[in-house]
Amino acid sequence: MLELKDVKKSYLKGSKALDGVNLSIGPGEIVGLFGENGAGKTTLMKCILGLLRYQGEITLDGDPITPKNIARLSFATCEHSYFPALTAGAHRDFYQEHFPNFRTKRFSALMDFFQLPRNKAIRSFSTGQKNQFEVILALSQGADYILMDEPFAGNDIFNREDFYKVLLGILEPEETILLSTHLLEEVQHFIGRAVLIHQGKVAGDITTLELEEQGRGLMDFVKETYQYKADRVSRALGELTDRE
């Protein structure tokens, strides 16, 4: 169980990125993390991974996250965290050495599925291939909790669809995914739970089963939570047109 208790994060400039986040994510869950730009999604993930200092408590099965248990978390980010000059094969060797539970078979299968070259430096990959490789590393690390921050930015729709299907097919019951993305409609059938972040706080937390029972879609839930005003565009356009 990954637990966050009253997690707060302020940057030196004074802005509050996280303002008392409480969240529990159990084994086997596939959680979508949604929110507007600057809501605090990336900061939340970085705090979980220990990449940023924070106030509050983040524990993994009751223990704080330290170098001893950090291998239980993996991270795929749109910023990319691989070594650009190394080949895929060199990454495999490196990860095998540092992550005892590295899933070599899964790594090979995913490399084959996406037809990524093993002997070319990653920096020579296309943007889509780089994203694929970043996610392959995160999925193959052997982590219990896989954190993904906008991993498919730059990939085409077919590519993303393929990935969702592959992901659902390969995940083992105890593997947990925390996926931050703006592609709500695309992932709504893939996730089991949606967490909405707004201004550094958890603004909504609901399972897709609950949504189904209520007869609501994920987008409806998000719009309600954010009190989205559907007529704001037409009103804005109207005002603009009047002015002109």
Binding site: L12, L49, L51, L73, T77, Y82, F83, F94, E97, H98
Partner: protein, 244 residues
Amino acid sequence: MKRWLSVLTPAARLSVWKVLLLSALAAGVQVLLFLTIPLDTQYDTHRVTFSLEEVVHQGNLSLAFSVGFVLVCAVLVLPGMERGAKTGYTLRRLAADERVVVLLWGGVNALLLFIFWGIQAAAALALSRYYLQIMPTEYINQQTLLMAFSRSPYLHALLPTWDWGVTIRNLLGCAVLGLSAAALPFHWRHGRKAWSTFPLVILAAFTFPIGMDGSDGYGVQLIILSMTGVLTVFGVWRWHEDEE
């Protein structure tokens, strides 16, 4: 142990062949410069023969060394820089302490600088041997080589032999610059701007030629290098967390 060594793989794969190439290039330029200098000249009715140290001085061989040295240091800094990917995210998720990784990279860098120094010294010895072979026997004796490596500040710095002070300065220089080249990208990865490596490299590269009497600020160089070394280690050990 294997795990620690594998941490060095990303940096080693990027820097070793580049350092060897630059070492060979710097040595090659020195050979070219040496060959362009006439070994004797006609002055009125006299034929004046240049000593080995005069040829080395007139050929500006130390300049080729200095430029090569600066380029090697640049090559050593580059692997740790986050170009095209946030490799720091991966480095900070390893069980190996990132600070120890930086110190290990510093050790590899020091070794590579030591190799650069060795190749330049070997080139200087080869050129000296060539000089002894082509010069008429009346202009050379058993002391020629010894005298040249004592009188020429550049040759003396390359092969200080019994001058332990200069040997210590060179070894300390390799160690401190190697460490500094590893620490600079470490600080940058953590969002801190550290610039001290740049003036240190320039200073080290262009004050490398040093006379036997140590009049070229040998003591000052030792003090600067020692203080920089201590401050670099302290900086890495103390400031290992993000500051934002």
